[in-house]
Symmetry: C2
Subunit: 170 residues, 2 copies
């Protein structure tokens, strides 16, 4: 699958089949994060692969009751091991770095025929309790992973003319 096709076909998947994710596919998804760029190539990240049913159920509670977290066979928590570093542009490096890594993983998952849903609605403190994550580690993103049991249309998007400027802000 080419990149543009993966970008076009990606959907946020909220219903999953019970089929497990093959190890080979999971490895390729994690490899996509491993080789992603990070600020100053520091790679201050860890990725926790959660498959255990009880742990996933605890993550449902830590995610404001989102059932998809219990239904998807895998959830991956993206963790930062250096969360104070601010880039000269004013952004926290870890938020950007982990967002890139997760972006790469969800596109690679799409290529491999898997569905994902990027999770922004979770209680970081509770997720850290569930996954034994130390106090100084941040969790800027999680996503579910598995075979889709739905085929949603793309949600509406703004026109290119409404979001692109040339040369200056207009």
């Amino acid at each position: 699958m080419d990149v543009f096709e993966a970008i076009s076909k990606r959907r946020s998947i909220r219903k999953y089949k019970s089929a497990e994710v093959e190890d080979e596919k999971l490895q390729k998804i994690l490899e996509s994060a491993r080789i992603a760029p990070s600020a100053a190539n520091r790679q201050e990240w860890k990725f926790i692969v959660v498959k255990d049913a009880e742990t996933r159920q605890n993550l449902v509670e830590a995610s404001y009751g989102q059932k998809l977290v219990g239904e998807a066979p895998v959830t991956i928590a993206a963790c930062s091991t250096e969360s104070e570093r601010v880039m000269p542009c004013g952004q926290y490096a870890y938020t950007v770095d982990l967002s890139i890594a997760v972006s790469f993983m969800i596109l690679e998952a799409t290529e491999l025929g898997l569905g994902t849903c990027w999770l922004g609605a979770f209680d970081e403190g509770k997720v850290k309790e569930v996954l034994d994550i130390p106090g100084d580690i941040r969790v800027p993103a999680m996503f579910t992973l598995g075979y889709a049991d739905e085929n949603p249309d793309q949600r509406p998007r703004k026109d290119l003319n409404d979001i692109v400027f040339h040369e200056k802000y207009q």
Copy 2:
């Protein structure tokens, strides 16, 4: 080019040929951002395509003298039109949303044979002056775009075993 190949081949390119980026390719790159996911599908983003040589030179100064910004035929500034919104996980939605959009664009650019460099070292206030960006708009990321005039090796990465945990943080 498949997704994994694009992820593997992507490099941060700091030397560019003077050849322009074809409009058709630029449109496909911008389309990759247009259809990217955003928190609650709000798409609170604008992308400024800068080609003008004088403006790019001004961006060099706003980017702590990084010459590549003047050499690359295109720089794209990713802007947020809603920068106060915080997701339940504690992260600013705009930083994550724009990071996803730029991630998709740099992979699509790789597929199209173009080089990119994600810029984190710029003075946001000066960039906003150069590009007439209003006060309440944030610029969490910029990237250069053009045909590479170098072929750098991949920089070293940590082993997968050092960055992946199973079930719990260890």
